[in-house]
Amino acid sequence: MSRRRTIVRESHHGLGLIGSAVILLLAVTGFGLQHPTWFGRTVAGACAVAADPRVEGRLLRAAPALLEVSEDGGTGWRDLPLSAVPDQPVAIRFHGPAGEVWLLGETELLKSTDGGLIWDEVALPAAVGLDEPACDLTLLAGRPVVVTRRGAWTAGEAGAWVELWHTPLSGSDRARAWFHRLHTGRWGGALVPRFYDADTLHQIHDDIEGALGSEVHAGDVVVHFDPCRPPYCKGCAVEDCPVRSTPFESRVPLDRGRAVRDDAAAEPPPD
């Protein structure tokens, strides 16, 4: 009994020491990671290279957060001014004689029309992102085709992406994504694009309202995008709202009867 107690006590001490060492290691390295200059820069190699078909010996290469050009077939390299280079470059593709070039990152797509000197960001298909990073890029009749491990999209008319193929998530993939979101905080919520262009927003608003209106009686549905407007204040309970003009009264019940009644009240009386 006494021997067993000794073993337990010593094991306890040993585990305690190991546990303390692990915690200390985590604390020190965690503290170190918060002081980036202690460890110096990360050396990252190029992971995408392409030859400019217009100029012999001209190459572009991209590494994480770095874009360089060579004019002598790859012997010497110099930085291009772009500092917002994709974090994980995947592919560079030149197209045509006019200097059009595309740069794909796992979650970003850039386009240049002057051989890579000035770049524009191009929105990727909504499905491409951290859960489904892009892994290849090709050009089909001058239009980019973005490929992920599960699908591909090409730019259609008016810049909208057209799905070429897309394999739905399997049950295990969904479970993995669920656990991933649980641990990363990227949980739930409807992801709606952020608009910087009010005209586009209004157009989409009208399209959505029109599409819904074709399914239900006109006036039964009102689509409301932020920012709020004063008429919504009495039905909105958000506290500390910067645009509130009248106090909250009560929630507007989301039922068909109310919508129809309001709509009917606004209609002219029948002949």
Partner: protein, 200 residues
């Protein structure tokens, strides 16, 4: 006394599940709704607070609107290697009596998903004085708000080609935010240079 029986075990497991499943909604309580879904909006400084922080509370600050002309836009875009999405900028020029305290500008750069709002103060000699993250909107990566990262930009000028992993060391786990801030400070320096008639 048998403490860990089947019933207690079940209660523990259920409790753990409740905590795990309940955690995201609880987190969501702390989030502010935004046009692109729930986001963790953290406001560290309003514009007024940031201006007091960079110029001091006794400084006189005058806002100056600037809309670059076509030639200026071209020079800015060439120096940055990307198109400008903004049409105009506001320079906040600080003075304390006769002393010129330089200028500050509020800019936004996209992190992983959402824009980071920050202020860059440039001293009279054209070198960066202070950088402040004003609003951070992502759920991860706000380590870039710390001065231990931001102080790397101090005393840099428009001739410094700011590059993440080359002369700026990023914050682990916040690579895209680090990149955004690096690109943003470079942009501020280029804007300042072109605004004052330079050719960066």
């Amino acid at each position: 006394m048998k403490m860990f029986n089947c019933r207690n075990g079940l209660i523990l497991v259920l409790g753990a599940l409740v905590v795990l499943v309940g955690a995201p909604p609880l987190r969501a309580d702390n989030m502010t709704a935004s046009p692109d879904g729930p986001e963790a909006v953290r406001i560290y400084f309003t514009e007024g607070e940031a201006l007091v922080k960079v110029f001091g509370k006794d400084a006189q600050v005058a806002a100056e609107d600037w809309v670059p002309d076509e030639d200026q836009r071209e020079r800015i875009e060439s120096a940055l290697g990307r198109r400008l999405t903004e049409t105009g900028f506001v320079f906040h020029r600080g003075r304390q009596g006769e002393r010129d305290l330089g200028w500050a500008i509020v800019l936004e750069e996209k992190g992983r998903f959402k824009p980071i709002t920050f202020m860059v103060q440039v001293k009279q000699d054209g070198e960066v004085g202070m950088v402040l993250v004003m609003v951070y909107r992502e759920s991860r990566g706000d380590g870039v708000k710390r001065q231990r990262f931001l102080k790397q930009f101090r005393d840099r000028d428009v001739d410094d080609t700011l590059r993440l992993n080359r002369n700026i060391v990023g914050v682990s786990g916040a690579t895209l935010s680090s990149r955004a801030l690096t690109a943003g400070v470079r942009k501020a320096l280029v804007l300042g240079s072109v605004n004052s008639g330079g050719n960066p």
